[in-house]
């Protein structure tokens, strides 16, 4: 019954549409998470971000994660949209929406999905600093995906 939609897009994310997509007569709670490009982090200015993905793998993994979220948290619906390419300051790079009969499950699932998206899904960002230099971000330590949790 639960509806799941995961998409990679190359244009602006319509966050209101992502939220609307998880509406369901059995849902009383809806959580929408929107991640945007921060223009300021402490004293550090960021001019913009750019995202790249292994698109087929990212699409497949987002679908797996959303399916797992629906099963684990008994969601009525779930949607994940990640933007690729340049994302200006203040614009959304990712939107996750969940709906459930009650709020605890909707919150927990949205938070879990964001944790997993940030750890598992082959998407990378390049930050453009105030001086115009651009740096790909590869967090320290091994890829969480080195020990595979999906597939063989």
């Amino acid at each position: 019954m639960a509806v799941v939609a995961c998409r990679l897009v190359h244009e602006e994310i319509d966050t209101a549409a992502v939220l609307a997509s998880v509406a369901d007569a059995a849902a009383g709670a809806h959580v929408l998470f929107v991640g945007t490009t921060r223009g300021v982090t402490g004293d550090v200015v960021t001019l913009g971000l750019e995202y790249e993905a292994h698109e087929p793998l990212a699409q497949a993994l987002l679908g797996n994660l959303a399916d797992e979220a629906v099963r684990t948290y008994a969601l009525t619906s779930c949607a994940v949209v990640h933007r690729l390419g340049a994302v200006p300051v203040g614009s959304a790079s990712v939107a996750v929406a969940t709906s459930a009969p009650h709020r605890r499950e909707a919150f927990a699932a949205a938070e879990w999905l964001m944790e997993r998206i940030k750890c598992d899904v082959p998407i990378w960002k390049r930050e453009e600093a105030a001086d115009g230099s651009r740096t790909w971000v590869h967090p320290d330590g091994p890829s969480a995906a080195v020990v595979p949790e999906h597939g063989s």
Partner: protein, 83 residues
């Protein structure tokens, strides 16, 4: 098995370090672990990042013991930063 050329996809900082989005690796079959060694030999610039990367075979993450057929679609997945 006859050696063929495996096309290995690189992304993000790894493509930048290699100066290319693909590497062509001579391959006659073997494991992911063996492929890692071949990739490191072909492109020393990415060795440090490669050690922290996962390998995806035909759209799935693979362990070092997994087989890499000569027809495989191979991607190196460095630590991710989406979201």
């Amino acid at each position: 098995m006859a050696a063929t050329t495996l096309r290995v996809h690189l992304f993000a900082g790894m493509a930048e370090a290699a100066g290319a989005r693909h590497l062509a690796i001579a391959w006659s079959g073997g494991t992911v672990g063996e492929l890692r060694s071949a990739v490191a030999a072909a492109c020393p610039a990415i060795v440090a990042l490669l050690a922290r990367s996962a390998i995806a075979i035909d759209g799935r993450y693979a362990t070092d013991a997994s087989a890499v057929p000569v027809t495989a679609d191979v991607a190196v997945i460095p630590p991710v930063s989406g979201g």
